[in-house]
C-alpha cells in the first residue's frame, strides 16, 4: 500500500527548509512528494485547503461546527486514498468533490424527517420551474438598520437558496471555480450548472435587493 511507503522517512533535512520548499510547489508536486515518503507534505495540503473547504461546506450546510467536522473527514479520506489519486487530474477538484459529497450527505441526512423532505422537494421544484422575475423597486429602506444587519442578511440569503443551487452558487461566487470544475465536482452537466447558477443569482439578488442603496 503506497500510504505505507509514504510513512518512511526521507533523508534528514532541516524541517523549516523542507516546509519552505514544499510551499513553493504546486498541488501535484506536493502530492508526489507525499507519496514518495515526505509526510510533512500532507500538512502543506491541509494549510492550503482548510479554510477554503470550511467556508465552502459552511456556506453549503449552514453549521460552522459541523462544517469543521466534515472538512476533517475530508482530509482523513484524502490521507487514506491519496495513493489512488490520478495525478493527471486537478487535486483541488478531487478534494472539493469529496467535501461536496460529504456536505450533500449531511443535508440529505437532515431531510430524513418526512415533512422536511417534502418541503425540500417542493422548494427545489419551485426554484427550478418558477419563472425568472424581477421587480424594479426604487424605494429606499432604512439604510442604517439595513447596513448594520447586512452580513446576516447576505448569509441568510445564501442559506435560503435551494440546496442544489446553493452548492453551485458558493463554488462559483465564493470559491471561484469555473463552470467545468463545478460540473466535475457536482457531477452534473455543464448546461445544468449554468441554469442553476443563473437561478441562484436571480434568487439571491431578489432577497438582497432591498438592502442595497
Amino acid at each position: 500500500m503506497n500510504t505505507e511507503k509514504s510513512l518512511a522517512m526521507t533523508p534528514a533535512r532541516p524541517a523549516h527548509e523542507t516546509r519552505d520548499a514544499l510551499r513553493k510547489l504546486d498541488d501535484s508536486a506536493v502530492v508526489k512528494r507525499f507519496l514518495e515518503g515526505e509526510h510533512r507534505a500532507f500538512g502543506i495540503l491541509v494549510d492550503r485547503y482548510d479554510n477554503r473547504l470550511v467556508n465552502f461546506v459552511y456556506r453549503t450546510i449552514g453549521d460552522r461546527e459541523r462544517a469543521q467536522d466534515l472538512v476533517q473527514e475530508t482530509f482523513i479520506r484524502v490521507y487514506r486514498h491519496l495513493h489512488r489519486f490520478d495525478p493527471t487530474k486537478k487535486f483541488s477538484t478531487w478534494i472539493y468533490t469529496i467535501a461536496s459529497n460529504l456536505a450533500k450527505n449531511e443535508l440529505r441526512n437532515r431531510s430524513r424527517n418526512p415533512l422536511v423532505f417534502f418541503q425540500t422537494i417542493k422548494k427545489n421544484w419551485e426554484a427550478d420551474h418558477r419563472p425568472l422575475e424581477w421587480e424594479d423597486n426604487s424605494y429606499k429602506p432604512d439604510d442604517l438598520y439595513r447596513k448594520r444587519h447586512l452580513r446576516k442578511v447576505v448569509e441568510k440569503a445564501v442559506s435560503e437558496l435551494p440546496e442544489h443551487h446553493r452548492v453551485v452558487f458558493v463554488l462559483r461566487e465564493l470559491q471561484g471555480k469555473t463552470y467545468e470544475e463545478i460540473s466535475q465536482i457536482t457531477a452534473v452537466n455543464l448546461g445544468t450548472v449554468k441554469s442553476r447558477l443563473n437561478r441562484a443569482r436571480n434568487n439571491f439578488a431578489r432577497i438582497v435587493a432591498p438592502m442595497l442603496d
Binding site: M1, T3, E4, L7, F42, V46, D50, N51, V54, N55, Y58, R64, A67, Q68, V71, Q72, F75, I76, Y79, R80, P131, L132, E133, W134, D136, L150, R151, V154, E155, V158, E173, L174, Y179, K194, L197, N198, R201, N202, F204, A205, V208, A209, M211, L212
Partner: protein, 167 residues
C-alpha cells in the same frame, strides 16, 4: 432580445461567456428594469464576497493530527504485528487440531456397565397409638438421671442421640 431571454441567459453575459453580448448591452440600454437587475446582481455579489471568511478553530489541526497519528499507528501495526486475519487463521487451525485429536474420544460410545440392583429392606411396620397422655420421649435418655422430661425446657440438659430405628 426580450426581458425573459435576458433573465434566462444573464449569467452567461455576466461571466463574459455570451457570444451575443452586444444584444444584452442593447437591451439594457432600452430596458431600465433589466439594467437595474444587472446592477443589482453585480452589487449583491460584491456584497457577498465582502462578508468575512470563516477560519478553522484552534483545535482543528491538533484534532486532525491526532486522527492521522492513529491511522499511522494502525498501519504500522498491520505491517509489523499480528493482523486479525492471521489471528483468525491461527485460532481456526487450533480448533481443527483439537477436533482431530479429541474428536474420536468424543464420538466413541461410553461402555455400559451392568451393576447389581440395590435391595432396600423395608422398615418394620409400627402401629402408632394416639397419645392419651403427655408424650414422653422415651428415646431420649438423659445423661443426668436426676432430670426428668419437664426440665427439658427449663434446664439445660445434654441428650444422647439414639438411632432412628430404635425409637
Amino acid at each position: 432580445m426580450e426581458c425573459n431571454g435576458f433573465l434566462e441567459r444573464f449569467s452567461e453575459f455576466h461571466d463574459g461567456e455570451a457570444a451575443d453580448a452586444g444584444a444584452f448591452e442593447q437591451h439594457m440600454a432600452e430596458c431600465a428594469g433589466c439594467r437595474r437587475y444587472a446592477d443589482t446582481v453585480k452589487r449583491s455579489l460584491v456584497l457577498l464576497r465582502a462578508v468575512p471568511d470563516v477560519v478553522v478553530g484552534e483545535d482543528f489541526h491538533p484534532r486532525l493530527q491526532h486522527r492521522i497519528y492513529h491511522i499511522q499507528e494502525d498501519l504500522a501495526r498491520r505491517r509489523g504485528g499480528v493482523s486479525f486475519t492471521r489471528l483468525g487463521v491461527a485460532f481456526a487451525a487450533t480448533i481443527l487440531l483439537a477436533l482431530a485429536v479429541w474428536g474420536p474420544e468424543l464420538v466413541r460410545e461410553t461402555p455400559q456397565v451392568a451393576l447389581p440392583p440395590i435391595v432396600v429392606s423395608e422398615p418394620p411396620s409400627q402401629r402408632v397409638a394416639a397419645p392419651s397422655a403427655p408424650v414422653r420421649y422415651r428415646s431420649i435418655r438423659l445423661l443426668d438421671p436426676g432430670l426428668d422430661g419437664d426440665d427439658l425446657w427449663t434446664t439445660r440438659a445434654l441428650y444422647e442421640y439414639s438411632a432412628l430405628s430404635q425409637r
